[in-house]
Amino acid sequence: MPPRLNPLSFSRPIAYRPKAQVQLRLQPAARIAPWQCRNYADKTDSAGADRSKRIEAQPLGHVSEEAAQTAKITGEQGPELSKGTPIEEVVKGDKAVVDNLPKVMQDAIKAKQSSSPPKGSRSYSTTTTPVTNNGSMDIGIFNLPTKTPAAVPGAKFEVPSLPLPKGSHVKHRYDPVIEQVTNLLMQHGQKSKAQRNMSLILQHLRTSPIPTINPDRPLVPGAPPPSHLPLNPVLYLTLAVDSVAPLLRLRSQKGAAGGGVALQIPIPLGLRQRRRTAVQWILNSAVKRKNVGSGKTGFAQRFAQELISVVEGRSSVWDRRNAVHKLGVAARANIVLPKRR
């Protein structure tokens, strides 16, 4: 293999990326030296890449890229670019370069060559193994694996695989619909009450009989058969809300028609906005329902019954949605698109 160092670019500072070399010594010998692969860098977007069009403005590639380019020109086989290049390989065989290297790198190369234990390593272990919790009290948080091998240098524990599984992010652990509807149910900032109401609503949906779908009021396409709904109350709620959610709202723009007359302009809504509108309609008609029984469960019961009547197509919310859509269709003419150039 040709030397990777291009003598022409020698004056340029060598890109040095610090590696977790001390940790490497603690790894078992059988492991592949992990610092040779650059897991943190993207293959397609190397350090030297730049979107600049002008050639003189483009930065030079790093050492290996340069070496590869040179090799390509000279018709030889260059270094493999998919992997990073260790520094000692770069400077191998060139004593002058080695002498000019910074002290830390020289030390690192020396340490690598000699098989003696690294400086600062103790003859005794400083880690402790956790005592089995036979005698002590089990509080349920000992289920973490006792030893997690770090696959990636620099990471203390194993790096999680992305995307993270559902519910594992602490701030987004609950279903988005549940979260949004709970917040919309909340009054005076009393979230706990809203959460209790939400739980009661879902419980009511779960114990209510299987809904009969009205073919005149179709639910969102792809809805599961109604027999699946009671046992999946979250889906039931989502289906009810999404089915009556309007696609647009009407904005009345002042003066757009001339002479101070407001013009209705349909504006498309985003997913959360659509759901919010639907929940507020449902809330309005739930509040108007008559309360049967007494106690804390009354509101939740009314809301749940309204949801059921939405799914069954009996609710007046459907009329409201249809009216908005009808107006929206009529107001389509008011949309003024920008002229094409």
Binding site: I139, G140, N143, S199, R206, T207, S208, L231, V292, G293
Partner: protein
């Protein structure tokens, strides 16, 4: 001016006012009869009818101004719920959910295996007839999660097995000297204390014990039912006839078989005639139908139940701390009556303190409540004392700065305790498998999930576990 003078002057003024205002509408005769400062005459007077058709007809084309809505529309024109209907709705107990899946291979408790130790950590169904009895004695509570599952089933946890052991021991004790146990069940809120009582009643029902359950201590002492002094009692005691009649009808429903098959053996002096050779069921029904005779009938029934050769008795009460203090009832001196002076409570308390023996053996369970219990230092002290006795450590000191009910302390001196703590992870796994098979828990039940939820539930508090898994409580 003296105070009496000023009062008279005021009263004169008010009389004048009454007479003056009364002139246009009513006759003058009413006014002098009205006492000073009284509004009764005005309030109870017949409402003055509005004269119709007196005003001029509205002119054509003129809108009459109506600022206020009519009162009828504001109040809602719908039918009002009947008295008690809304409370009945709130306290309704639903024991099945048609949407929940049938759990395959769910075994029922039977008379033969009810007390077996092999149930430990398993979920077992409650048989149909036991469910009826449990419903009759109000062992199911409205806040429990029975309405989520296909049919009632319970987890046979460690404490249940302890109770089963105790019942087994009582059953197998010698005929001449039958054993009886008196236990306070205590533990954390939502920890399953009432459910433990329910399990005890289930096992007792299956083993053909006699069951007497006071479903809620608060209902006895909160002065919602009538009371009357018991003639000839010293110190004075009070009977609650309606409550006792209800209790008798519950006893009849829960112990149908035994009561119907057994004849009255002793002679009782009852205020009502009872036919010769009547069964115990007829005796109890007599009391249930005639509240004024309920207490003598209850005493007679108890005498019959404690005759030699009769089955052991399970007596349970939920909400113990309510009946270990003064009740809401007042005596003739308008002083509160102590709960122990109410005959039903007294009967239970005598059993609980060991003053009255259970000659056929039996179990007296007093269950404390975590969510509805007034602070009761007597119970706390007796629990601490019983714990110290069981662990053979030093007895706790009574805090002299705390108000304590001496009668309650006397009663609770020598009772055992059973602590209901969190369930183990194995038990949690078993109940969560049941949840998942019922279709109400939509998650893969594996070790990680179980221990996560077990920790979330405060180290296996079963109520919290249900909340964290089934109730979808965020």
């Amino acid at each position: 001016m003296s105070s009496s003078m000023s009062l008279r002057g005021l009263s004169q003024l008010s009389l004048d006012a009454v007479s003056r205002s009364a002139i246009p509408t009513r006759s003058l005769m009413i006014a002098p009869q009205a006492s000073c400062f009284s509004t009764s005459a005005a309030r109870y007077a017949n409402p003055t009818m509005k004269k119709k058709g007196m005003g001029a007809a509205p002119k054509k084309g003129v809108k009459s101004l109506r600022i206020t809505k009519s009162n009828k529309d504001a109040a809602g024109s719908g039918k009002r719920p009947a008295p008690g209907e809304r409370k009945a709705m709130r306290k309704r107990i639903v024991l099945s959910n048609d949407n929940a899946l049938e759990v395959a291979g769910l075994q029922d408790l039977t008379a033969e295996n009810a007390l077996d130790a092999s149930h430990q950590g398993k979920v077992r169904g409650i048989p149909e007839e036991a469910v009826d009895a449990l419903r009759a004695v109000e062992a199911f509570k409205p806040r429990q999660g029975w309405s989520l599952f296909r049919r009632p089933a319970v987890l046979m946890r460690k404490e249940t097995m302890e109770l089963a052991q105790i019942m087994k021991k009582i059953e197998s004790s010698e005929k001449s000297k039958k054993e009886s146990k008196r236990i306070i069940v205590y533990g954390e809120r939502m920890g399953g204390k009432s459910t433990l009582l329910l399990q005890g009643i289930t096992m007792a029902f299956l083993r053909k014990w006699t069951i007497i359950n006071l479903p809620e201590g608060q209902d006895i002492v909160n002065a919602h039912t009538d009371y009357a002094p018991l003639p000839g009692s010293q110190p004075l005691q009070y009977t609650q006839d309606t409550y006792t009649a209800g209790l008798l009808s519950q006893i009849v429903k829960a112990n149908q078989g035994f009561l119907a098959a057994t004849k009255v053996s002793a002679k009782h002096d009852l205020p009502l005639p009872l036919s010769k050779g009547a069964t115990l069921k007829q005796l109890a029904e007599l009391g249930a139908a005639n509240p004024e005779a309920a207490w003598p009938v209850f005493v007679a029934l108890w005498t019959e139940l404690t005759q030699p050769g009769r089955p052991p008795i399970l007596v349970g009460v939920d909400g113990l701390s309510h009946i270990m203090r003064e009740s809401e009832y007042l005596n003739s001196n308008v002083k509160p009556i102590h709960a122990h002076d109410l005959t039903i409570v007294r009967h239970f308390v005598d059993l609980f303190s060991g003053k009255t023996a259970l000659p056929n053996g039996g179990l007296v369970l007093g269950v404390t409540s975590g969510s509805n219990s007034p602070a009761n230092s007597a119970i706390e002290l007796s629990i601490a004392g019983a714990e110290a006795r069981q662990s053979k450590s030093a007895l706790p000191q009574w805090n002299p700065y705390k108000a304590i009910d001496q009668r309650a302390v006397e009663c609770l001196k020598n009772v055992d305790v059973l602590k209901v703590s969190g369930i183990s992870k194995e038990e949690a796994r078993s109940i969560m498998d049941y949840y998942a098979e019922s279709g109400v828990l939509r998650a893969q039940v594996n070790e990680g999930f179980v221990s996560e939820r077990w920790s979330l539930a405060g180290m296996g508090n079963i109520g919290e576990l249900e909340r964290a898994t089934v109730r979808l409580r965020v």
